[in-house]
């Protein structure tokens, strides 16, 4: 079983660690480039994407992670993590950058500010219904042809993807780690090379 790191610069790190531990996965937290060398896959947690992006730069992890992504390290990003993996960020800071590992266009706070944050049941292809917790969530406005859409949600303005996968890169606009369901993490873990 590969070791799965959780990027621990800022955000809901311990919830991801807890879910992975429940699944029997060996995990460690990643704050430095050398800690990234110790893991075979990485979860990018929820948090503030601008703060995490800033800290990726100052810690030297940005270049290290870029290199690992080009080597096809499996990654799973939730919320801010999805934003960081995406190829295009709308309504972000002018200088907002992202890794471009996942060919999706995301709109920051696309469902509104905190008072619009919501919970809704989400039907995941091949899995069933899981609880969806959306907190100042990014909305996926467009996906590339290589991207597989595993779940959508219609928030009154037509369906938008909420869980997507492009090869070994997974992204989710909600927070499975804030619920007692481990199903989506299990899908990611089951996809890892043994």
């Amino acid at each position: 079983m590969p070791r799965v790191g959780v990027l621990a610069l800022q955000g809901d790190v311990r919830e991801h660690v807890a879910v992975l531990s429940r699944l029997g996965v060996t995990t460690s937290t990643v704050r430095t480039a050398s800690q990234l060398d110790d893991v075979e896959a990485l979860v990018l947690p929820g948090g503030e994407s601008t703060a995490i992006a800033h800290l990726l730069g100052t810690s030297g992890l940005r270049a290290a992670l870029e290199s690992r992504l080009s080597d096809h390290m499996p990654v799973f990003g939730t919320c801010a993590g999805l934003i960081l993996l995406s190829s295009q960020v709308l309504d972000g800071r002018e200088d907002q950058w992202s890794f471009g590992a996942l060919d999706v266009s995301v709109r920051r706070n696309g469902y509104g500010r905190q008072v619009a944050s919501f919970e809704a049941p989400i039907e995941v292809r091949g899995l069933g219904v899981v609880p969806g917790v959306f907190i100042r969530a990014p909305r996926i406005d467009a996906v590339g042809t290589e991207v597989e859409v595993l779940a959508e949600h219609d928030h009154g303005d037509g369906p938008h993807p909420v869980l997507v996968r492009q090869g070994s890169v997974w992204g989710c606009s909600f927070h499975p780690e804030l619920t007692s369901s481990s199903d989506i993490h299990r899908m990611f873990v089951d996809s890892l090379p043994v």
């Binding site: 621990a8 610069l9 800022q10 955000g11 809901d12 790190v13 311990r14 919830e15 704050r31 929820g46 948090g47 503030e48 601008t50 703060a51 800033h54 800290l55 100052t58 810690s59 919320c79 801010a80 309504d91 972000g92 800071r93 907002q96 920051r108 706070n109 500010r113 905190q114 008072v115 619009a116 944050s117 919501f118 919970e119 809704a120 049941p121 989400i122 039907e123 292809r125 917790v133 959306f134 907190i135 100042r136 779940a151 959508e152 949600h153 219609d154 928030h155 369906p159 927070h175 804030l178 619920t179």
Partner: protein, 298 residues
């Protein structure tokens, strides 16, 4: 696959506490205008607290401290992409209603402003927007959570640049949690009475060994070392009020405190970011204070 017919629910405890979870490991900075908000976001702040005057100036100027001007809050919301928080006076639910109508992301029912009600805090359950409240001990924290607070910050003594009260409050809360963990089931009734706190919350803390909501630290943090200290004492994120914009080089101090909060366990990094920062805010000895803000709230 579409969930067009399914109900979605706003304002649940999970989405309100969830935003606090997302702020963990980060720094929330007090700002008084859009320019400062931009500096805070550039430095890696996870959120800003929009207010008219930082606590050090409230202390210096005196007078009644109230909710901020909505125009100023809007200006900050338009400038940054990170969450924008704002303060309401203790018990002033009408100010809180206004802040919710302004779409702020978190309301701080704060002892830094002049209290509006000397008996009652705001019924925070009745709001969609989440609330953070200060606490000096476990009983106070659990009373605020019982009223609906979704995040607790240890109070410290705002506007002093002196970390001593923040340390006292964090240590007190931690000691009281450890006491609950060592109690048997029958002792918890009496402990709940002593803490003047709801029994179910006391039982939950005894079981989990921590508060049911994230615990952050505020009040007196003015250097990277202060941030590292309170994170090591169990704070999950820090609020910095006067400590940044009352320092000699706010941009640099802001960045350094952000780095120290993330890498608080790595003294080499904290040492590096503490180097050549210029003067921290001057600060005050708490024994000489005329007004102790932490005593507000009950």
């Amino acid at each position: 696959m579409s969930n067009g017919d399914s109900p979605s629910v706003i304002g649940t405890a999970r989405v309100k506490r969830g935003l606090a979870d997302m702020l963990r490991g980060g720094v929330i900075m007090d700002v008084v205008n859009p320019e400062q908000a931009k500096i805070a976001e550039d430095a890696g702040a996870v959120a800003v607290m929009a207010l008219e005057r930082v606590p050090a100036d409230i202390r210096r100027d005196g007078g009644v401290a109230r909710m901020s001007d909505p125009e100023m809050i809007r200006g900050i919301q338009q400038t940054v992409t990170i969450p924008v928080m704002a303060k309401a006076r203790i018990g002033h639910f009408a100010e809180a209603q206004i802040l919710q109508a302004l779409d702020v992301d978190y309301i701080d029912e704060s002892e830094v402003l002049t209290p509006a009600d000397e008996v009652n805090h705001i019924d925070k359950w009745s709001f969609t927007v989440p609330f953070v409240c200060g606490a000096t001990n476990l009983g106070e924290a659990l009373r605020r959570i019982g009223e609906g607070a979704c995040m607790i910050r240890s109070k410290g003594e705002a506007g002093t640049g002196n970390i001593v009260e923040a340390v006292r409050h964090l240590r007190t809360i931690n000691q009281q949690i450890r006491r609950l963990q060592s109690a048997d089931a029958s002792e918890l009734f009496s402990l709940a009475k002593d803490l003047q706190s709801p029994l179910p919350l006391v039982e939950e803390v005894a079981e989990r060994g921590e508060l049911p909501v994230p615990m952050f630290c505020a009040g007196g943090i003015s250097t990277p070392a202060d941030a590292s200290l309170v994170m090591q004492l169990g704070a999950q994120a820090v609020f910095v009020g006067s400590g940044i914009f009352k320092s000699e080089d706010p941009e640099r101090m802001a960045r350094a405190i952000v780095e120290a909060t993330t890498h608080y366990q790595d003294a080499a990094i904290v040492a590096k970011v503490s180097t050549g920062l210029g003067a921290a805010m001057k600060g005050a000895e708490t024994a000489t204070l005329e007004q102790r803000l932490a005593e507000r709230g009950w």
